[in-house]
Symmetry: D3
Subunit: 244 residues, 6 copies
C-alpha cells in the first residue's frame, strides 16, 4: 500500500538534525522529521532542584511546547490561558525521563541541564522528533560543560544515546513514523523510545480505535526498533560533523 | 523469591470492589487493591463538551486526584496550589481513554458520563485500581441511565469491559500488581490496560533504572494479561451482585 | 411537627465516628452525620509556618474540600478551576479556628498539625461533621506524637474537646442538625461550635429568610448546646474504643 | 476602665457617612468609623447572574477589598498574587448576604446591584463599616434606578435598613466598636449585623482567646444592638441630607 | 476652539495635591486632575528585591490599579479575574521607571520604597496624575525615612522632581491634559514625563487614528513641557505646605 | 566611535526577512536583525472578538513571546509561571497597535488576523524586529485571504506599510538599531514605529540613565526615520520576491 507521501511502510520521513543552531544555548539542535520542526536547546545550570541538593548528583529536565501557529489551526497560548495543558505536561515528562535513562546523573556532579523543545512546525511525531533532537542538544551541552570546567573532563555522563519514533497500524498495516494525516487515521498508535544499543526506554501504545492483540504489538515493536536504529545513525552524524 | 507481603510473583493483592458506595452518584465503586483505596463515581450529564455538540454522540471523561494525606507524607492540595500537576493530568487522560475504548459513544446519544476517581489511600497502583473501579461505576451509571430513560434501553453502549494492572521487574524477576515499596525498587515499570476479551487498550512501559530488552517486555505482558483476566472476573462479580 | 426522616426537633441524625480509618495518617476519623460522610486526617509536621518560626509554639491548620460528586449534582473541581472558592476558604478557616481554641499551642512545641477534611458524601451539616471528626483525628495524632517523641509526653496540648452542630428555624420551629432538604427550607441557620465543657467557641447565625429576634436566637443556642453535649460523648467513645 | 481613645465601653467611634462621594457610580458613600475609611459604591447593572436569569428577580452582590497600604504594614495585592484570599472572600459574602436580607429581590426586577467596598484606611471594624456604608450606597442607587426607569417607581425594594458593628470582651469587659489595637487584645470578638427595626441578620462570635459563656454572649448582643440603633440614625441622616 | 469644560487648549484641569492623606503610610498624596482622583501611598520597606540584595543600593517600585467603579462602567476586579491586565502592568512599570529616574538609588541604602497608586475616580489622565502624585508621596516618605534613621540624614536621594501630563491632537489642534471625553476623540495621544528641570524622562506618543508627522510631535512636546512646569510648581507647594 | 560589530552609528545590522517560512500559517516571516531572530506568523480567523461583533469591521491582534533559551541566560516559561509578564503584555499590545495603524479594519470585513511573534534568538531589538517582520506576515496573509475569498478582492485593507527600529544614546552619541550589549549601555533608549510614508505611529523614548533634552530627542528621531525608511525597502523586497 502506497503512503500519501510515497514512502514504504517501514520508511522514515526525511530526517535532518542541525546541531548548534542557537548562538545562545550551550547545546542546541533544529530537528526535522519531514515538515515537523522542533528547536531543542540545552541549558547548563549551576544548581539542581532543591529536593536533590547535596546528593552530589545532577539532573536533566525538559519542557515541551508548541508555538500557537505550528499547527494547521491556531491554538491559544498556554501562557495566556494561565496553565499548562495535560498533553504538554505529559510530553515534557516523557522527554525528561527518556534523556535521564541514558545519563549517569552522578557523573554530572551538582549540575542541571534544562532541555527546551519548542515545536516550530507540527506535522505529526513532534514528541519523537523532540526526543531525538534533544539528545543531540544534550550531548553538545555536556561536551561544552566538560570543555568549560563545569563537569569533570574525566567523567562519562552519557552511557548510551536515545532516539524515538512513532509507529501505528493503518488499515491493518503497521507503518513507521506517522505524518499527521496518518496519525489521525491510525487505529493503534505507539511511541517507542530506545537507546543506541537497541534497548527499550519507553513503550507507549494506545488503541485509538479497536483494541489490539499481541501479534500487532510485536509487529509495531519490530518496526520501531528498526526506525530508532536509523535515527541513532543520523544523531551520530550530527554530533560528529561540525555544528551550525 | 518471597514478596514482602508473602505473595507469589504472579499474585494480585486482595482486590475488592464495593459497587454502589455513593448514595448521590448514578454509578459508584469503592475499589481496593490491598491498602490502595479509590472511590470512583460516575455522573450522567445531559450535555456533551461543546466541540462534540450536534454529532449525536456521547462522551466519557475522567478526573483523577489524590487526597492530600492518602500518601505516607502529606502533599499540598492542587486546588490550593492553583494548578493541576502533570502526573494528575496524565492519569486522568489515561483513565478517560481506557474507558472510551470499550464504549460505543454513538450508542450513548448526546450524554456525557463524568468519572471521578479520588484516591482515599495510596499504596501503589492507584491508576490501575482507578481504571478497574471506574469501569464498574461506569457500567452501573449506564444501567441507571438506561433504566431512567437517559439512554435508549435498546442501545448497547458497552462493547467490552476494561481493567488495568501494574507489572514490574524487581531484582530481575517480573512481578504482578506492585505495592508502593515494590514500585520504588522496580527497574522496569509497566501499566497495562486490557479488555475483558484480552486485547490491549494501553501499554505503558518505562525503564526506571536500566533500559529493558524484548524478552523482559514479553514476560511482563504475559503476567499483566493474566492479572487483568482475574480483575475482569472480580468486576463481573461486583456488577452481578447487589450494590452496596 | 414530624421531620422527613422521622426525627424529633431536638434529635441528632445517626452519628458514627470511625477512628483510625487511615493507615497513612497519624490521626484519622471517618465521621457520619446521617448520610453526610467526611474523612478527617491529621498530619504531624515537623515545622511551623514561617511567620511563627522561633516562637517555641506549634500550629494547627485545616483544609476542607468536597469531592466533586459528593453532592446531588456534580460540581467542578477547585483544582481544575484553578482557585479555591469562597465557601471552601471560609469553612477551612472555621475548622482551624475551632480546633485551635482547645489546643495549648505552646505545649505542642514547634510542631504543626495539618487537618484535612474531605467530604465524601454531603447531605447537610458538612462543616459541623468535619469539626466533630477533626477533633477526634487531632486527638489521635497528638497521642501518636506524644508516644513517638514528637511532643513531650509530659505536655498537655488538649485543654478541652470541641464539637459542632447546626440548628435552624423551619416553619417557626427550632430544629437540631439539619439535613440538606431541611437546610434549604430553614429561615434562620446557625452553626455552633462548643467545647466539651459547654462553652462557645464560635456562633454563626444567619438569617436566610426573614431576620430573627432575640427569642429565636436563644432557643437555637439551647438546642445547639444540647447537641454538642451528645456529640462530645460520641467523640469520647470513639477515642476510648480501639481504633479502626 | 478608660479606652485608649477616651471612649466609654458602649461608645461608638466618630462615625461619618458622606453620601454621593463618587461622580461615576449610581450610589456611593465614603464611611468613616474613626480612622477606618471605606469607599462604598453601588453599580446598577441591567442583567442578573446566569443562574438567576428568567426568574423575574434581581440580585445584590458585594466585593470587599483592602488597598495594599490601608494597613500599618503594606500587604501584597491580591491581583498580583493572582488569587483572592480567604478573609476577603468571607467578608465579601457577608456583605452581600447582609444587604440581601433587607431587599425584596422580586421588587428589583431583573436588575443587579453590585456593591464595591474598598478600604482606603483600616483601623479595625472594616467589615462593619463596609456594611453600614454599603447600605447607604445601595439605597442611593435604588433611588437613582427608580428615578431613571430601571426599577418601577411603584416598587418598594427596601424592606428595612441594615447596619453592623463589632463588639468584644477586653479584660473581661464588653466593649463596642473595637479599634485595631482593641481588636488584637479582645478575647471574644463578635460582629453583629442588624436591621433598622432591631432584628438580627447575622451574628458571628468567635473566641479568639478563651471560649465564652452564655452570659458574655448576652452582654455583647445587648451592646451591639444599641450600637446598630445609633448607626441606623446616622444612615438615615446621610440619606435625608443632600449628597456630596 | 472651546473645550467642553471651557478650558483653553494649553490649560490644565484644576489640579490639587493633598499631601499626607493617609495616617498609615510613610508618605501619601491624594491627587486630583479635575475629576480624576488617585490615592498615592509610599511604603518604606527594610529590604530590596532578592536580585538587588547586597549591592548597597535601594529600589523604588510602583503598582497602579483602578477601583472597579472608578470608571463610568464597572470593570471586573483583577484580583477576581486572577490576573493583572496588560494595561495595568504597563502603567505600573511606567510609574516605577519615572520615579527611579529622579532617585539616586545608591543614596537610599538597601531600602525599598513601594508606591501604590489606586485610582478612586477616573476621568482621563490617570497615569499622569498617578506619577505626579506619586512623586509627592515618595518625597514625603524619603523625608520620613531620613527623620527616622532609615536613610542617612546626610544622603540626597532625590536628584530632581518628576511630573507627567497627557497631550493630544483633537480635530487638528494640540491640547493639554485631556479629560476622558477628549481622550476618546484624540487622533494622537501622548504622555510626557519630565523632571522639574525640564528634561524628558519618558515620551510615549501613539497614533490612535492617523499617523502623525514631525510638526505635530513638536507642538505636542512644547505643550507638555509647559504643563509639567506648572505641575512642578504645584508639587513644590504641596511639599512645602503642612501635610493633611 | 566604532561600534563593537564595526557598524557606523547610523547603520542597521544585517536585516533579512524570509517570507513564507511556515507551511501552516496563512502568512509568515522569519526576520533577523543581526543575531536577533523572530518567527512571525499571521493566522486568518473567521470571527472577531465579541465586543466587535456585528460592526462589519475586522481586527488585528498580536502576541509576542520569547523562547526560554532565546536569551543568554535561560528564563522560566510564562506558561509554567502561569502568568504573562508585564513586558510581554506591553510588547504584544505595541505590535497590535502598530499594525492596526496601517490597516483599514472596515476593508477586512468581520475577519480577524492573529499575529504571533516568537523570538527564537534574542540580541536586542526584538520588539522592533517583531513589528517589521509581522507587517510582512500580515501582508502575505491578507493577500492569501483575498485570493481565497475571505476578504473581497476589491478591498484595500493595507493603507500603508509599517516598520520599527530602536535608537539610543551611547556615550553621548546617537546610534541606530542597538544590539543587546549596546542597549544595556544606552543612557536613552527609544523605539520608533513609522509608516512607509515616513509618518510616526509610535514613539517611545525612555531615559534609562540621565533624563534627556530636546536636542537629543531630535537627533534620535532623525536617525530612526532613516532606519525605518531602509527597513521599508527590505520589506518591499521580501513581499515582491517569491516566498520561502
Amino acid at each position: 500500500m502506497a503512503r500519501k507521501d510515497g514512502r514504504t511502510p517501514d520508511e522514515l520521513r526525511q530526517v535532518t538534525i542541525e546541531r548548534g543552531w542557537s548562538e545562545q544555548a550551550e547545546g542546541s539542535a533544529l530537528v526535522s522529521f519531514g515538515r515537523t520542526k522542533v528547536l531543542c536547546t540545552a541549558s547548563v545550570l549551576p544548581t539542581v532542584p532543591r529536593w536533590m541538593s547535596g546528593k552530589g548528583k545532577g539532573w536533566v529536565t525538559a519542557e515541551y511546547a508548541m508555538l500557537p501557529r505550528s499547527t494547521n489551526e491556531r491554538m491559544d497560548r498556554e501562557s495566556v490561558k494561565g496553565r499548562v495543558g495535560g498533553r504538554t505536561h505529559e510530553i515534557s515528562r516523557l522527554i525528561g525521563r527518556s534523556l535521564r535513562a541514558v545519563v549517569d546523573l552522578r557523573a554530572l556532579g551538582e549540575v542541571s541541564i534544562a532541555i527546551d523543545c519548542d515545536v516550530l512546525q507540527a506535522d505529526g511525531g513532534t514528541r519523537t522528533a523532540a526526543i531525538t533532537g534533544a539528545y543531540v542538544a544534550l550531548a553538545e551541552a555536556i561536551a561544552w560543560a566538560q570543555a568549560n570546567g563545569r563537569i569533570p573532563k574525566s567523567a562519562t555522563p552519557l552511557i548510551d544515546s536515545v532516539a524515538a519514533v512513532s509507529v501505528g497500524v493503518i488499515d491493518g498495516e503497521p507503518m513507521l513514523d506517522l505524518a499527521y494525516v496518518e496519525d489521525v487515521r491510525a487505529g493503534t498508535d505507539m511511541n517507542v523510545v530506545a537507546t543506541g544499543r537497541g534497548l527499550f526506554v519507553e513503550v507507549q501504545g494506545t488503541a485509538e480505535g479497536a483494541p489490539f492483540d499481541r501479534r500487532e504489538l510485536d509487529a509495531l515493536l519490530d518496526l520501531a526498533l528498526a526506525g530508532t536504529e536509523r535515527l541513532t545513525a543520523i544523531q551520530r552524524d550530527a554530533l560528529e560533523g561540525a555544528g551550525a
